[in-house]
């Protein structure tokens, strides 16, 4: 079945450093969504990417969708303590109604 892996599993950074998480799917995706889940909270939608090679920015966050639509990345510039949480990608497969969540990357930012 479809699998979506993320690396790294954990990342500790000093405040102000950059952070990147990578998402890789075993199958081609129709689109990919990114979510952030704070400790004790629920996943909160960040963005959706649909087109091959698409790049979107939200302030300090940059999202990319690979040319083959099988991988994606989230890059945070100059991390802040408010960026703490687990970042999940969720891949939507063509012809299905479901999204498979990636394994997640837990980010800790040290002040």
């Amino acid at each position: 079945g479809q699998q979506v892996m993320q690396i790294p599993q954990y990342q500790h950074v000093q405040e102000g450093e950059d952070f990147t998480t990578y998402c890789n799917s075993s199958t081609t995706l129709s689109n990919i969504q990114w979510y952030k889940q704070r400790p004790g909270g629920h996943p909160v939608f960040l963005i959706q990417l649909v087109k091959s090679g698409e790049v979107k920015k939200q302030k300090r966050l940059t999202f990319q969708f690979g040319e083959a639509k099988k991988n994606s990345s989230l890059h945070i510039t100059a991390t802040q303590t408010t960026d703490v949480g687990t970042y999940f990608c969720a891949g939507g497969a063509s012809g299905t109604y479901k999204y498979i969540f990636g394994t997640g990357t837990r980010l800790k930012v040290l002040a």
Binding site: H42, Y97, K98, G102
Partner: protein, 114 residues
Amino acid sequence: DTEVTQTPKHLVMGMTNKKSLKCEQHMGHRAMYWYKQKAKKPPELMFVYSYEKLSINESVPSRFSPECPNSSLLNLHLHALQPEDSALYLCASRTGLLSNQPQHFGDGTRLSIL
């Protein structure tokens, strides 16, 4: 703040109990989802409803029984659960199954089975 409301927030039950989780949204979304999330793991899809009809059942044990009485409400009936069923149960909704729209998640119900 969330536009998807889940109740109760916490639930402790014995293995012989019967209880229900409730999820409500008033955004006019026609697709609703149940996920199970264990600690430090991603959400795992359980059920998907589209226009009040069950579209996907991810081979979930029959001790979990979903119900969608109307377009705003989604229930998950629980019976004879096992300790390994302890988890955070998340409800989500989106505009429709075929739309490229985000899922809106509720705060979840944290379930503990004694």
